[in-house]
Symmetry: C2
Subunit: 280 residues, 2 copies
């Protein structure tokens, strides 16, 4: 692991690090915020998965998470959204290839050699974090924005024993029924010709209907989001209610899809996760 930068922030340290990741078969960069409490021993960790076109950096500089993470004594990890480097295939569209890993393990050419973001987020990076930093890996929670909200919800429901809580800001909520989803799932996983099962585990609405989540769920969605048709929040809201999911779905009047929306509600999300993490 290589240290790219470390900046003091709210009494803790906002670091950026890189490492060779076995799953994605390339060097990966991530941000990690360690709160002041990490000086006294291992702290819980909140995963923040970012959206389309983002790197590790966007949320780290724009989401305003550090203030609240410091207050609650929680680390926040900011992974990248795809494999990177000259050897990694890409697409001219902003929503496929680099910056658009969609948190799946690709099975299709040309993507399968590097686009293994599911394994990167659930295996490689947790192992590195546990080895290198003062983190209490028995206390983890996960959140994300847009494509990252999709990743957070689907990963949390697949690993209910790992995450005490899950939240999302404007998640891509029903990708198997959206142009933010069908295109990418087809490219990375192949057509759903035989069965939809290899798509279904990557759809938060379908997973919510199927099994739900063991802990509490918090969803914030801007009512003036310019991508409502692609996000399909109503599908997830309905599925949560039908599943009697322990959770809160909030439609926020006037807010759009930007980091101005995310940062506005970051305090609530970190407080929500802190409650679950300190109970865990």
């Amino acid at each position: 692991m290589k240290t790219i930068s470390e900046n003091k922030s709210f009494g803790g340290v906002q670091g950026v690090y890189s490492h060779a990741a076995p799953s994605t078969n390339c060097d990966m960069t991530f941000g990690l915020y360690l709160p002041p409490a990490a000086n006294d021993g291992p702290v819980p960790v909140l995963w923040y998965l970012s959206g389309l076109t983002c790197t590790h950096e966007n949320a780290m500089t724009k989401a305003g998470a550090q203030a609240w993470a410091a207050e609650h004594g929680i680390a926040v990890v900011f992974p990248d959204t795809s494999p990177r480097g000259d050897d990694v295939p890409d697409d001219d569209a902003y929503d496929l290839g680099k910056g658009a890993g969609f948190y799946v393990n690709a099975t299709q050419a040309p993507w399968k050699d590097h686009f293994q973001m599911w394994d990167y987020i659930t295996a490689d990076l947790p192992a590195l974090l546990a080895a290198e930093f003062p983190l209490d890996m028995d206390r983890q929670a996960i959140t994300g924005h847009s494509m990252g909200g999709h990743g957070a919800l689907t990963i949390a429901m697949a690993f209910p024993e790992r995450f005490a809580s899950v939240s999302a800001f404007a998640p891509i909520a029903n990708p198997t029924a959206s142009d933010w989803g069908k295109k990418q799932l087809t490219a990375y996983l192949g057509e759903p010709t035989d069965s939809e099962s290899h798509w279904a585990k990557h759809d938060a609405t379908l997973m919510m209907r199927e099994k739900g989540f063991a802990g509490p769920v918090l969803i914030d969605q801007g009512a003036d989001d310019q991508f409502l048709d692609l996000l399909k929040p109503e599908s997830l809201s309905q599925a949560m209610a039908q599943a009697r999911q322990d959770g809160i779905f909030r439609m926020q009047k006037g807010y759009d899809h930007s980091y101005f929306f995310v940062s506005t509600f970051m305090e609530d999300h970190i407080a929500f996760h802190a409650d679950a993490l300190w109970d865990a």
Copy 2:
């Protein structure tokens, strides 16, 4: 005036606008955050002047000011740092020309036709803000980072009747004695051959020695700032103490020059200005 964008943020609106500015003789872009309280009537306004290489956007997205501005019912204006456009001269160096207006009125070629940032910040933009937005222009305060801290301090001391309070994050504190200053003041204002007076009004340390500021002053400086030799905080600290200036100078252990430093102490600065503005 043209609206570039408006995003809801912490219950208020983060806007970006452009307008033709007489002083700089070009179109200028600025950000303005209006807190929720602006729905009920005019609110006080805090100026945030940015540093070298910045546009109106950096602090707007990275400084975390909106949360506290909303809480205290204060607007925050984020001006650009120089004139812009194809007609505006530039320099290959990052610290001269575009992004480096230094908050002076240039008298030298090729800069003088556009680089009138002092007048832009103190005349053009206040007039536009007063005409277009629900702002109480009798309640103004000013802050800034690095070159913007220099601008905030020198402008506040030149207009003590206008600003209730002034603060700065890692200001360029003594530019007439620094390579961040001598180069730019020479280029924009000419050599100080006859008299230093046309330089002195653009040096916070000299102005503090000469006249000080009528209201309270708050300075934060990171002890691990990578530019300490260029910023010269000790000169300003000494001048403040010698002048018996009502003020606080804080050396913050471990912090550097980045927005991670600025955002960490933004809450304190906005609370400091709120106290002064609501007393004004």
